[in-house]
Symmetry: none
Subunit: 376 residues, 2 copies
DNA sequence: TGTTAGATTGAATCGACGT
DNA sequence: AACGTCGATTCAATCTAAC
């Protein structure tokens, strides 16, 4: 039976009462009340078990609004693992034999979740990285900016070969190359972010609709049932309704349920004809000076000059530029030698080639060509 | 002692015999022969073939059977976990208290490895994604193109705060924005890829040197010791030698050892000057405000202002600042008047000069210059 | 009404040092 | 070991207020 026939059939028959609504209650016990093997895809955004100590302040001394909610507190790794295995088992029961599950997390929890999924027999198909265009910075300068989250996509078990993967549609939407395992999306802000009457965010970790849309376009067909056992602000439901999929939400907190119901009621489903393809977003690849060294196009120890050879600076292995004691980025050093506040190092600095001088910006163009292929 | 002094010292004293060479043998038992707390950074690229071929061994050297039913699958996961815990524990013993460890893997093994690391007390600092510009395509069209691998960067334990992270150098190399957790590099191909006389690749998973260079530039200083317990084709050794770091390799197979030794012998180290790491402000010597008064650069009784002249405070002879009854350090008083918890008095307070206002931090720079000349 | 400078904010496991 | 003090630290986007 074709996907479109399935949609038509479903609309003519009695819809199950547990579909397209939010079930209030504990995740595990509510899952146990749902019929087994009834769900095509599960999207789960479980608590991350962040282990935060004191407060964190920005350089301007404002306080970071941390995720310190009661639902994210666990006594130990063992307690978190027990919680994880319980909801994964309950979720597995309601999943169709050819269904798949998506779980999103950060380095705080995703390794534990992934190991538990493997232990319970789920068969990992991909791990997919959500790269954030606008992540929160690292304020103390003690780590890399945490700029991504990880999603695990798995089938019910190794033998499940009949899962849905809309390979050709994804490829067509991705400029006719295969969809990769690293996706670029902004975090959820602006008009999409649910706010209360005071302008405060309703849910601390609302996911962007574009992320859920990509997931559903990849791994579901119109009319499929998508279950979200940690429904929160209801992104899964809103996107499912818009894309002509059924949703099932499970959520404990009434405030989230109310907000999600209101949100979903306002969603207008797309026409069936528009459900075919959803184009992906491309970003201008940003090239940093260090990428020239990474690619071997620029070597540590190379001397750079300004256009009139008034200054000479050496490239160091760490990707900085140095003139004697003066060292820093290509931009800082360019500004310093000229006594200016700012300087575009890409156009200011040159390297020797064929007896003449060439802007290093020329090398950036070469690297950018290579990065574009990767959809940087 | 500065990083450069440390390098110089090390080169003059007797180098330990276990440095800068490949130790042949099993990973765990060889690690147990190395001195404890002797290694600054570990880079580990452990095997992740759960049941694909036969080179996964239990800690007791018995072979894990290649199996595919569910029970044996769990059995092989358990064996892999035991193997993982064994080498992680042995690695932890040789790691300095402020050392860090990098482990790279794919979705087949990285979740198990990450969970084991947390269980053993390693404290995850970041997970870092290596995005491949040129990943292998997915041939069956049943999954997303697997276009990345995951690295876990962790300190020895939660209390280890003194680990090396060259934040300022990375930021300067990255066009003056902080380095993110997603890195873009090509896979190892072309001239860099080791081949045998038949043109076949010598090692199946040779890592690109640019990846290791980024890791070492981020988390080591010149002269540090970098250990690789799964040395393989020796990328870690080649990059360490080029970047003025010591390496320790452990490898079982003689063919890999031979190839790696030949490879490393051909590496030419960079000049020491090109290896300097851009220091941050934290590396600058501390200056107490009272030193300005001691040096006569600042006189008791001087009035200081914030940038907008909203507050005026008087310098007292003991190096404190006072506004009426309110008195304390330049930092405390700056924080108090703004109603904040903290404040950097050096950048907050200004003095009058030539009719305008100048940060007192300018005077600190003068004092530091004097300290440098005195060889302090 | 349009433009621009300034303020706000996002899943955060975010010191060092001397007493 | 616990505690107090010094003082270092942010990117992209949206929202608001001033001009």
């Amino acid at each position: 039976m074709s996907a479109l026939r399935a949609v038509a059939d479903q609309s003519h028959q009695q819809k199950a009462e547990w579909l397209d609504r939010i079930h209030k209650g504990d995740c595990v016990s509510t899952l146990e009340k749902l019929p087994e093997k009834s769900v095509d895809v599960i999207f789960a955004d479980p608590p991350y078990n962040l282990q935060l100590n004191g407060d964190l302040h920005r350089p301007d001394q404002s306080k970071v609004d941390a995720v310190d909610d009661e639902w994210d507190q666990f006594d130990s790794f063992a307690a978190y693992d027990a919680f994880t295995r319980a909801w994964l088992l309950a979720a597995r029961r309601v999943l169709k034999p050819n269904g798949t599950i998506w779980v999103i997390g950060s380095y705080h929890n995703i390794f534990r979740v992934g190991a538990s999924m493997q232990d319970l027999g789920f068969w990992i198909l991909n791990d997919v990285v959500w790269r954030k265009t606008n992540p929160m910075p690292n304020f103390r300068g003690r780590r890399f900016q945490n700029a991504h989250e990880t999603m695990i996509w798995a089938s019910r078990d190794q033998a499940s070969k009949g899962y849905t993967f809309n390979y050709d549609a994804l490829k067509a939407a991705n400029d006719d190359v295969q969809m990769r395992s690293d996706w670029l999306f902004p975090i959820c802000t602006g008009a999409e972010r649910l706010k209360d009457e005071n302008g405060d965010k309703i849910h601390p970790t609302q996911k962007p609709e574009a992320l859920l849309a990509r997931i559903m376009m990849a791994s579901t067909k119109p009319g499929d049932v998508v279950l979200d056992p940690f429904f929160g602000s209801g992104t899964t439901g809103a996107v499912a309704k818009r894309l002509g999929r059924h949703f099932v939400g499970i959520e404990r907190e009434q405030a989230y349920i109310d907000a999600a119901n209101e949100r979903i009621a306002a969603v207008k489903p797309l026409d069936r004809a528009d459900l075919a393809v959803l184009p992906g977003k491309r970003a201008e690849p940003r090239v940093a000076f260090v990428n020239l060294i990474d690619n071997g196009i620029m070597k540590a120890g190379t001397t750079l000059y300004d256009a009139k050879k008034r200054w000479a600076a050496k490239v160091r292995a760490d990707g900085t530029l140095a003139i004697g004691e003066l060292a820093g980025s290509i931009h800082r050093v360019g500004a310093q030698v000229q006594g200016l506040e700012a300087c575009n190092g890409w156009t200011f600095w040159h390297y020797e080639r064929n007896g003449g001088l060439t802007q290093i910006d020329e090398l950036r163009r070469i690297v950018r060509l290579g990065m574009e292929r990767a959809g940087a």
